[in-house]
Symmetry: C2
Subunit: 176 residues, 2 copies
C-alpha cells in the first residue's frame, strides 16, 4: 500500500512533464549544477575546448533563466577581468550556439542557456513578459505540429517559435 502510493506519485510526475519549471520555485542551485555538469560532459564527449571564457559565459546564462543581451554579458565579463569588446561576446555566443549550448531569443535579441544540450533541435520558447524568464520546450512537449499541407508545400529546415505571454507563476501572483 505504501509502495503503491509512491509509484502513483512517480507516475503523476511522469505524465505531467515539468515544462515550466523555470518559472516556478525550484532548487535552482541543483538546476544550475546539473546543467553545468551536462555542459562539461558534452565538451568532453565532443572533444571541444572548454576555456575560461566559454565556461564563464555559460555560467552567466545559467544564472536565473533570464536571457542576457550581448552587451549585458560584456559588462559582466568586464567585472570578472575578461576583455569586454563586442566581438568577445559574439564569438563565444556563436560558438556556444553552433554547438547547441545556447539559443538566441529573437524577440529579445538576447541569449539563453539551452535546456537540452547535445541534441540539435528546433526549440520552442515561452517568454514571460512579466518576470522575464524563459523556458524552452522540445517538440514533443509542445505538441506543436504542422499539417500535411504545410509540410508538402515547404521544406522546413529551421523553425523559430517564441511564445510571449504570462507564466503560471506570474498568473498565480496576479490573482492574489
Amino acid at each position: 500500500m505504501f509502495k503503491r502510493k509512491i509509484s502513483s506519485i512517480m507516475k503523476k510526475k511522469q505524465t505531467s512533464p515539468n515544462i515550466s519549471k523555470n518559472f516556478m520555485d525550484h532548487d535552482h542551485e541543483l538546476c544550475f549544477e546539473s546543467a553545468l555538469k551536462d555542459f562539461k560532459q558534452h565538451f568532453i564527449e565532443k572533444e571541444l575546448k572548454l576555456t575560461p571564457l566559454r565556461l564563464k559565459v555559460f555560467q552567466l546564462l545559467l544564472k536565473d533563466h533570464r536571457p542576457l543581451g550581448a552587451y549585458q554579458i560584456l559588462d559582466l565579463l568586464r567585472k570578472d577581468g575578461f576583455s569586454s569588446t563586442p566581438p568577445i561576446a559574439y564569438r563565444v555566443l556563436d560558438f556556444l550556439i553552433e554547438h547547441g549550448f545556447v539559443h538566441k531569443i529573437k524577440k529579445l535579441n538576447a541569449f539563453v542557456a539551452c535546456s537540452h544540450p547535445g541534441n540539435s533541435h528546433s526549440p520552442t520558447f515561452m517568454i514571460c513578459r512579466k518576470c522575464e524568464k524563459v523556458a524552452e520546450i522540445n517538440e514533443k512537449e509542445s505538441g506543436l505540429k504542422f499539417n500535411k499541407e504545410t509540410s508538402s508545400e515547404f521544406k522546413i529546415e529551421e523553425a523559430i517559435i517564441e511564445l510571449i505571454g504570462i507564466c503560471k507563476n506570474c498568473t498565480k501572483i496576479e490573482v492574489i
Copy 2:
C-alpha cells in the same frame, strides 16, 4: 452536367488552399492590385488617414513578396522624393504594423505586407532562404496547435512563428 464540372473545380480550389502562392508563378499584377484595394478599403472602414507616405511604403512592400529592411525602404523613399531619415520609415512601419497591414520578420529584421489585413492574428511565416520570398499562413492553414499541457502552463498572448527552408518552387528548380 456542365454545372457539375464547374462546382467540382470550385471545390478543388477550396480544399487545396493556395498557401504558397507567393512562391509560385502567379498573376502578381492582380495580386498587387487586389491587396492594394483591400488596404484602401480598410483605411476607409477604420477611418484611418491614408497619406502618400503610408501608401508608398505599403506599395513598396507589395512589390514581390520579398521583405524589405527599414533602410532599404528609406532608399526607395528617397528616390521618390520623400524624406528618408530613419524615423520616417520606422514610424510608418509602426503605424502599419499596429493596424495589421504589415508584419516584421524577426529572422530578417525586415518587413512584409500582411496577407490577411484587417483581422488581428498571430501569423506563421514561411521564409525561403533561396528565393528570399515570404508567405504568410494563418493559424487554420498551418495546422499548428499546442497541446493542452502547454496552454494550461502558459498564457500565450503572442506567438512568433517563422519557418525557414526551401519553397516548392525552389525545390522544383533544384531538381532540374
